[in-house]
Symmetry: C2
Subunit: 352 residues, 2 copies
């Protein structure tokens, strides 16, 4: 695998010339200036990402990355760990929410086992890039080794690069991993400098008592490991997860090929924080799809300076919010490409 | 045409049995309960509308209704009145935002001239149901006669009934009419009891001085006409518009056939207020698609007790926000119809 530094070193930010051209184009279309709101904003951001004034979204895919978390031993989740494995099988048979919504918007689902705690053979369609059999319990020590963290990033970047080479030109990321909002909260607390109690929520739906446990487990993990907020690999290895590392790798890999990645909820935003520490320019290629009801999500997006497209009160993960926003982004590009101009349609502009 | 009372008299509200069944079904699907947020809520509302536990959206259409407003003589808009006519031609040739977005989501666009101030023949595809050559100036007297107001409602209800008979089972409404946010503000002030200054915004983008003019024009219209907030026909005739009446008719006609109508922005919500006064049960069949940046929109939706699906900072009209929400509603029905259950997929439920 190519080292992650390879991707980072050939990265440049958004193309401001293309963004300005897209903005000027928007203002010639038969509608009051700015009246399509976020649809206009997204199309302009995509112009900057693709480096053309009239971007278009063609083949879309979502990477749904799965892994297990040793920290589940601490009783931080409402669901047993085996649900991760069971849900991977559900993805394979097309019965999960991400399958339904991806079919609706015309996106391919690429399910990747980054570290599910099972040695069984997966059915066809599941990509096995297992880095380990679940992470270690971060409340007791590092979740993974630095080498494993690096491997996660490189696997993710390679998968992104491969799919882009195959013709995909817009990506989304999503997660599946019982216990992974605990890792996401620990990462968000570390990188944003917020207290664990501020960035920790109910995940799949825990009660008050388990929420108190979850916060104190995260406090222990941060005390025991002391992750360095300026070192993304250190944060990932100490309090991250294999799927979080994989998604951070997708973000870096796609950005180095100038392909947008649509974030999903809170766990994907923690992958975005890791990617942003390793490579700040990668943020130019991220689109925040929706605002999760997990409290840490808003802090993570604020730290990344990203505004979510949707707010549907979702908290499922898997990439479900990301594919819905991908579809709206697709529509936003069509507006720019297909709408008539004031001159072309003989429509009068504003009164003097 | 059938009198509007015919539609009103055979109206019943949402089917609460089907809604409860849909709610129970949602809770068996392989996701934490409630984790799809508004997607779950919409599917449950649609179950109540269609009266089945697993609703589905098939053929979709948007009625984009156009008319002119005599009140433009008072200088309340940033665009000249002829833009209404020019935009109808733009709709006919497929170059407007509503054409692009409807193609994206697979909805038919039905453009209806309810009262554009021109006697020209429209190209094919434009439905001519002109009630008048634009309304009178409501700052000086009633915008239209009570008979004209009734005709608007009956035309709208008939068009809805016809399209439903043709096989459409989900409708959206949208508006085009230079000056129509002035009418919408006057209606909203009347029905919600708010002051004109609270419910009046910049429409297509007027400056501060024109905004002050617009507010004082609305204040005059309410003083001169004294519309009765408990009489929808009175409000429509005195401070409404032909396209607003047509859309109110679509809302009543569709509701009487148990078909949902997706509202768009502020002007459509003023049609919804008229319909709600004439027939309160019609509100059960309305879905609020998005929150416009027009300040009156939020008050109108609050009065109707409807929560918008999207908030994309749009303020274009035409039905553009409505068709985007229609597509999300379509996805929400697919979730209910296509997702695996915990039992079926062998996925463990919550820990005890």
């Amino acid at each position: 695998m190519r080292p992650i530094e390879d991707y980072v070193s050939r990265m440049s930010g958004a193309d401001s010339g293309a963004m300005n051209a897209a903005k000027r184009l928007q203002d010639t279309l038969t509608k009051p200036q700015g009246s399509l709101g976020k649809l206009e904003d997204i199309s302009i951001r995509l112009a900057g990402i693709y480096g053309v004034p009239r971007p278009s979204i063609g083949r879309k895919a979502v990477f749904t990355m799965a892994a297990d978390h040793g920290v589940t031993a601490e009783g931080v989740s409402a669901y047993p760990q085996e649900v991760t494995r069971q849900m991977v099988l559900n993805f394979a048979s097309g019965g999960a929410a991400i399958n339904v919504l991806s079919r609706h918007v015309g996106a391919e689902v690429k399910v990747v086992d980054m570290g599910v705690a099972t040695s069984e053979d997966w059915p066809e369609g599941i990509v096995n890039r297992k880095v380990g059999m679940g992470t270690e319990d971060m409340a007791k020590g590092p979740a993974m080794t630095v080498d494993e963290a690096k491997t996660c990033l490189e696997v993710g970047a390679e998968l992104a690069a491969q799919s882009i080479q195959d013709g995909v030109n817009a990506l989304a990321i999503g997660d599946m991993g019982i216990g992974n909002t605990t890792a996401a909260s620990a990462i968000t607390a570390t990188v944003s400098g917020r207290a664990p109690s501020e960035v920790t929520g109910r995940g799949t739906g825990i009660d008050d008592s388990r929420l108190r446990t979850k916060v104190s487990v995260i406090e222990s993990a941060l005390r025991v490991n002391a992750p360095d907020p300026s070192d993304g690999l250190d944060v990932l290895s100490k309090v991250g997860g294999f799927e979080i590392g994989g998604m951070a790798g997708v973000l870096i890999g796609a950005a180095s090929s100038r392909v947008p990645v649509f974030l999903d909820g809170f766990v994907t935003s923690s992958a975005a924080l890791i990617a942003s520490v390793i490579c700040p320019e990668s943020v130019d290629f991220m689109i925040a799809s929706h605002l999760s009801i997990e409290p840490g999500h808003e802090y993570a997006l604020a730290h990344l300076d990203l505004e979510p497209v949707l707010n549907l009160h979702m908290r499922l993960g898997e990439g479900t919010g990301a594919v819905l926003a991908l579809d709206i982004a697709d529509a936003s590009c069509k507006v720019l490409a297909e709408m008539a101009t004031f001159d072309g349609a003989g429509v009068s502009g504003e009164c003097e």
